[in-house]
């Protein structure tokens, strides 16, 4: 692994930690939702980075190139397919979360989780 690519992975990990920090520390429902979204983007980015190759070609095979040289030059398409699925799942979770936030706001009149504390013990 070269120094540059190591740097990218490190930044990706930092992004993940920013999201986790946001979820754990912030008191506002909307900020927690944003934190979760950031965490998920970090993982998606990580998936893409796994399959990435510097100066790689798009993973679309045409009749002209043979399979060996194609495999040596193209980026890995599988993580991209995974990211598509993961984005769709993320959309579902995000929608549900935002809907819950709206309902919670209707009931409690606040986004502050220190005031939404009926369940304890």
């Amino acid at each position: 692994m070269t120094r540059e690519s190591g740097m990218i992975y490190a930044l990706c990990f930092v992004l993940f930690m920013v999201g986790l920090y946001c979820v754990v520390v912030k008191k506002n429902l909307v900020k927690i939702v944003l934190g979760l979204a950031i965490m998920e983007y970090a993982v998606n980015l990580f998936l893409i980075l796994i399959g990435y190759r510097k100066d790689g070609i798009a993973p679309i095979i045409d009749g002209a190139t043979d399979a060996k040289t194609f495999a040596a030059a193209s980026v890995d398409p599988l993580p991209q397919a995974l990211v598509l699925t993961s984005i769709v799942i993320g959309l579902g979770v995000l929608t549900l979360m935002v809907a819950l936030c709206i309902r919670l706001y209707e009931r409690y009149g606040t986004f502050d989780i220190t005031q939404i504390r009926r369940l304890r013990g």
């Binding site: 998936l47 549900l96 979360m97 009926r118």
Partner: protein
């Protein structure tokens, strides 16, 4: 035509068909959902003793997605589908209290489809997708009542559940970068066990699935989420969901993909004992009936993990058997709590009392389930706890065995409390007019109570060879799992 994909396809299809066709005729949704879960239940009993690999789209593993059926999956399939049948029978009358039964059944069947998918999947990313289907449906079902508590519990569960899912996805990604494949068997064959990346991946999975299974340092969401859901959903969540998407997946990965090492085995022992002890101490002080049961779920999952951590054939047998038993008696306990709530509209133990006279079936089935979870012979909970304790002694872990026996006593104490305050004692004035719940709800509670009494028979050698022994064998063969899948494909 293989039967394996139908376990996912049937509930998925009916989840979409129910809201489409039963808008006009209300009763159609009840019939449709119950028939679906009944068919699934019969199918799962039909596959007992079978081993098969199904390749999706006829792509051979490791290229294509594989679905694998072995002893350990069959056991979970039987548990999931039988409990979900009982829960849908219970739902017919119980869910009349809520609006929009159609959406309820739809989400319920999505959850079942997700769980069946998780236990059958032979592909790591596919497992993640099914896990998310089951989880998202369960987040929505926890908040189904849309009251203050339900929404709060649902949001808490959703946040922690999403963090868990993100860690699992990170684990999948690291696994792919390490081995270049997503097929579980192929990963197992190529995994370099001594690299630090492997340790990172394993910790991501343990954290993620530990959160989903509510092992003790990660248990904060469970006592809020499980009591807030409607009773049949509490039964499903505590009874099978934490097992199918938490325990099953973690144990499959540790035993069959990573291969059990002493370090991993000690991690399981530690988490198991911590959950067992802390769960029961938190439970005993509770006055909310369903919350008390929810804390006991943490404690009983601890037993299961302890049994797996011992990693002896007897320990695994005990763990697997306790997992099935817990699904039955915890499902039953939540259903009885639901019946009480259906009648007197409260979950507080102080406001109950003497309900046994007015609700004989609920009182009796609840007594059976309480004795079963406390480990009174000859009910099913006794046998599995006994096996786990014997396995502890046999493998020289005396301290763990002692803890297990102690926790069993504490469990007995807290269920004596439930029985004393809820069903025995003086009948309160404002509960004089209470009547027994409708027949459908009684029926599903009686089925589960019968199972509580009869499941000890699963240990008879000829019966054990059908269900429990294959499950133990499929875990004990360890990483040979890979060779089995790749040769069948």
């Amino acid at each position: 035509m293989s039967i394996i994909p139908l376990f996912v396809a049937i509930p998925l299809a009916s989840a979409f068909l129910i809201p489409m066709f039963s808008k006009r005729i209300r009763v159609f949704s009840d019939i449709f959902a119950n028939v679906t879960t009944f068919i699934l239940c019969v199918m799962s009993l039909g596959v007992i003793g079978r081993n098969a690999v199904y390749t999706v789209g006829l792509w051979k593993p490791p290229v294509g997605i594989a679905m694998a059926l072995d002893g350990w999956s069959v056991l979970l399939l039987v548990t999931v589908n039988s409990i979900s049948f009982c829960a849908t029978v219970f739902s017919i009358k119980y869910m009349e209290q809520y609006t929009s039964k159609l959406r309820y059944y739809s989400l319920f069947l999505l959850m079942v489809a997700g769980m069946n998918g998780v236990v059958l999947s032979g592909d790591l990313f596919n497992l993640y997708v099914f896990l998310e289907i089951a989880s998202i449906a369960s987040y929505a079902l926890v908040g189904f009542g849309c009251q203050h508590d339900e929404l709060e519990a649902s949001f808490k569960y959703l946040v922690l559940g999403s963090v868990a899912s993100t860690f699992i996805l990170l684990g999948v990604a690291v696994g792919y970068s390490l081995t270049g494949t997503l097929n579980m068997a192929d990963i197992s064959a190529r995994l370099p066990h001594d690299s630090s990346t492997f340790i990172f991946m394993a910790s991501c999975f343990i954290l993620g699935f530990g959160l989903k299974a509510a092992l003790v340092p990660f248990h904060a969401w469970l006592p809020d989420a499980h009591p807030s859901a409607p009773a049949p959903i509490s039964a499903m969540l505590s009874g099978v969901l934490i097992k199918a998407i938490g325990v099953y997946a973690l144990i499959r990965l540790i035993f069959n993909i990573f291969g059990l090492t002493p370090v991993l085995s000690h991690i399981l022992l530690f988490f198991g004992t911590a959950s067992m002890v802390i769960g029961v101490f938190l439970a005993i002080g509770q006055w909310d009936m369903k919350r008390l049961f929810a804390y006991h779920s943490i404690s009983q999952i601890g037993y299961v993990m302890l049994g797996f951590g011992l990693a002896t054939p007897l320990g695994i047998l005990g763990a697997i058997f306790h997992l099935m038993n817990h699904a039955v008696f915890k499902g039953l306990l939540f259903l009885t709590a639901g019946s009480v709530e259906y009648n007197i509209h409260t979950r507080q133990l102080e406001e109950m009392g003497g309900l046994r006279e007015r609700m004989p079936v609920t009182g009796f089935t609840s007594l059976v389930a309480s004795m079963s979870i406390a480990g009174i012979p000859p009910l099913n909970g006794f046998w599995s706890k006994l096996i786990i304790i014997i396995a502890c002694v046999q493998s020289g872990h005396y301290i763990f065995g002692l803890w297990a026996a102690f926790v069993s006593l504490m469990t007995l104490a807290s269920f004596l409390k439930v029985q004393k305050f809820a069903f025995f004692g003086e009948l309160k004035e404002h509960n004089k007019g209470v009547r027994e719940v409708p027949v459908g709800m009684c029926l599903s509670m009686m089925i589960l109570a019968l199972l509580c009494v009869g499941m000890g028979l699963l240990l008879v050698p000829s019966v054990r060879a059908q269900l429990l022994d294959p499950a133990v064998a499929s875990l004990l063969r360890g990483t040979e799992y890979a060779a089995w899948i790749l040769s069948k494909g």
